[in-house]
């Protein structure tokens, strides 16, 4: 009992339970060849991309804000990456594209912190603005990578395979490790948790909550942008709709993973597992032959169940949420 409670204290515990339940269910009612290498690799690959975005979102939610613009930032960065490649080459394009993502995050962070506006409104504006910029910039279609660029070592590094494992998966694991260390073992991580948990107290202890929030927004946008680059390095055929509605899936993944929106609590590994759950359900629903619009409904149901479950779990574990 006590040790379970101890376990449940970590925010990501709910998603671990979720994944365990889900895998059990898929094993028991296996209509669709769930346990095949191909299915797993398909699901894990897309989960990784979504997880990269969801981790950034988790950081923002921990700081007690929200970022609705990640889908558009993901798209804008990806398109910048492809478009700049023609003039700057692959390495230059990666840097330029990530710089654009960082600027997106910076502008939104500044508007939230300095402008004192709710992040929902600011990032809603961002959602429209960045998507609009994509439309204006591309005029409706996105150019493709040159053959040379597809063979570039950097493209391979972001989008290739290592020992049969998609690079996206490895990048996701690397980012998970780095961000977990940052969150748990660095001063910034401590400040971030304090800012989200009790911004007044954090400020009174000398934490620059303004800066923490701005940095978090920048990190979130850069993560989303990075996910865009990783996606396109692997599969460069794209379209102006890139990233459309991805913010909903990213927020869902983060919430399923134990981010409670009351700030100061959240789990990166939870966000990763949340992304895995969302993607797996899509596969299973399609495999079961459900009409595809049910997927939206289903994510909605999972989201509501997950937040209630996670909240109850956190309360049971003794957190005041």
């Amino acid at each position: 009992m006590t040790s379970t409670r101890q376990l449940a204290k970590s925010a990501g515990f709910g998603s671990v339970v979720g994944v365990a339940l889900m895998l059990t269910a898929f094993t028991l009612i296996d209509f669709s060849g769930w346990w095949t290498a191909r299915t797993i690799s398909n699901v894990v690959h897309f989960s990784s991309i979504l997880a990269l975005i969801a981790m950034g979102q988790a950081l923002v939610i921990i700081s007690k804000e929200i970022d609705l613009s990640v889908g558009s930032v993901y798209g804008l960065t990806g398109i910048a990456f492809i478009t700049f490649e023609h003039s700057l080459g692959v390495p230059g394009a990666v840097i330029a594209a990530l710089a654009i993502a960082a600027v997106c995050g910076l502008l939104q962070g500044l508007a939230v912190v300095r402008g004192g506006l709710p992040s929902m409104i600011v990032t809603l504006g961002g959602l429209f603005t960045f998507r609009g910029i994509i439309y204006v910039w591309t005029g409706g279609s996105v150019r493709n990578f040159s053959e040379a660029a597809r063979e570039n070592w950097l493209t391979k590094l972001f989008g290739g395979e290592v020992f049969g494992i998609e690079a996206a998966v490895l990048w996701m694991l690397l980012m998970l490790a780095i961000l977990s260390v940052v969150l748990k073992f660095t001063r910034f991580g401590n400040h971030l948790l304090a800012t989200g948990g009790a911004s007044d107290s954090a400020e009174s202890r000398g934490v620059r909550i303004d800066r923490v929030k701005i940095i978090t927004f920048v990190m979130c946008s850069v993560m989303a942008g990075f996910a865009g680059i990783v996606t396109l390095a692997d599969q460069p055929q794209t379209h102006v709709t890139i990233g459309d509605l991805l913010e909903l899936e990213a927020i869902s993944a983060a919430v399923i993973g134990g981010c409670l929106l009351s700030g100061g609590r959240g789990s990166l590994i939870g966000a990763v597992l949340g992304a895995f759950i969302v993607t797996s359900f899509r596969y299973e629903l399609i495999a079961l032959g459900a009409p595809s619009s049910w997927f939206i409904t289903f994510v909605g149901v999972v989201l509501i169940v997950a937040i209630i479950f996670n909240q109850k779990l956190a309360r049971w574990a003794g957190h005041n949420v």
């Binding site: 409670r5 309360r315 049971w316 574990a317 003794g318 957190h319 005041n320």
Partner: protein, 257 residues
């Protein structure tokens, strides 16, 4: 002052917040016409106890009797309807509402126009104006001003004024003299005694044992969620009671180590 039939009777009360044990097996009686001082350090459980009495928290275990009847449902609405007025320390006023609206929050006077109940602003305004004048708020403060504009003392005055205005059977005061000037403090203390003399039960919560010793008929001391002393002010001096608090603190420290 004690008669056979306590107005409020608390029996073996336990309260948990998650895994935190906030009240531990607390039993205490309160009688009508009595002024009881509830004393203890921060985190001793005083506020938690009275929050049970005024219906904000539901006890995890144990019983509360009001006027001899077992209380089965806990909600501030029910407590207020029963005649328990509480002056909360940090809550009780909504910054965004006017003084008049705050004053009557939850028990708005109604005026029916073609059968539809509307707020009776005339009454709300006149009554709250009367009270804020009586409590000496700045002259430029009107009943239509939002509470946001008031100072800490003024807010406290509005809360006390409201409780006194609607006094019924029990008035609970949680650190009522915080934020107040010396003169205001005396005024509040006089009011507490007056209320008691009118036959009401007054529960007065404070840190300051010396202050409450002068007013109260009885003092209940809490420490770490437990009741550690319950004595009439005739039987113990303030110094003795202070010693109890100090001992209690040490006792807890010992237990913790």
């Amino acid at each position: 002052m004690s008669d056979a039939h306590p107005l409020i009777q608390v029996k073996n009360l336990d309260l948990y917040f998650g895994s935190f044990h906030a009240l531990k097996d607390v039993s205490v009686d309160f009688h009508a016409g009595e002024l009881v001082g509830l004393v203890g350090d921060n985190g001793a459980g005083k506020t938690t106890l009275i929050r049970v009495l005024c219906g904000i928290h539901k006890p995890s275990k144990g019983e509360v009797y009001f006027d001899g009847e077992l209380v089965t449902e806990f909600h501030p609405k029910l407590a207020i309807d029963q005649g328990i007025e509480t002056i909360q320390q940090s809550v009780g006023l909504c910054d965004n509402l006017s003084i008049a609206r705050n004053f009557y929050l939850g028990r708005e006077p109604m005026k029916k126009i073609v059968g539809i109940p509307f707020l009776d602003f005339k009454q709300m305004r006149s009554m709250s104006t009367k009270v804020i004048r009586a409590f000496g708020l700045r002259d430029n403060v009107s009943a239509d001003d939002e509470v946001e504009r008031l100072s800490g003392g003024e807010r406290q005055s509005v809360k006390i004024g409201r409780a006194v205005e609607f006094k019924n059977r029990v008035v609970i005061m949680d650190e009522p003299t915080n934020h107040l000037s010396v003169r205001e403090r005396e005024h509040v203390n006089e009011l507490a005694v007056q209320l008691k003399e009118q036959g009401l039960l007054v529960i007065y919560i404070t840190h300051d044992i010396f202050q409450v010793h002068k007013l109260a008929d009885r003092v209940v001391i809490m420490e770490n969620g437990e009741k550690i002393e319950d004595a009439s002010t005739d039987s113990m001096t303030a110094e003795q009671l202070e010693e109890v608090i100090r001992q209690g603190g040490r006792l807890v420290e010992k237990m913790g180590s």
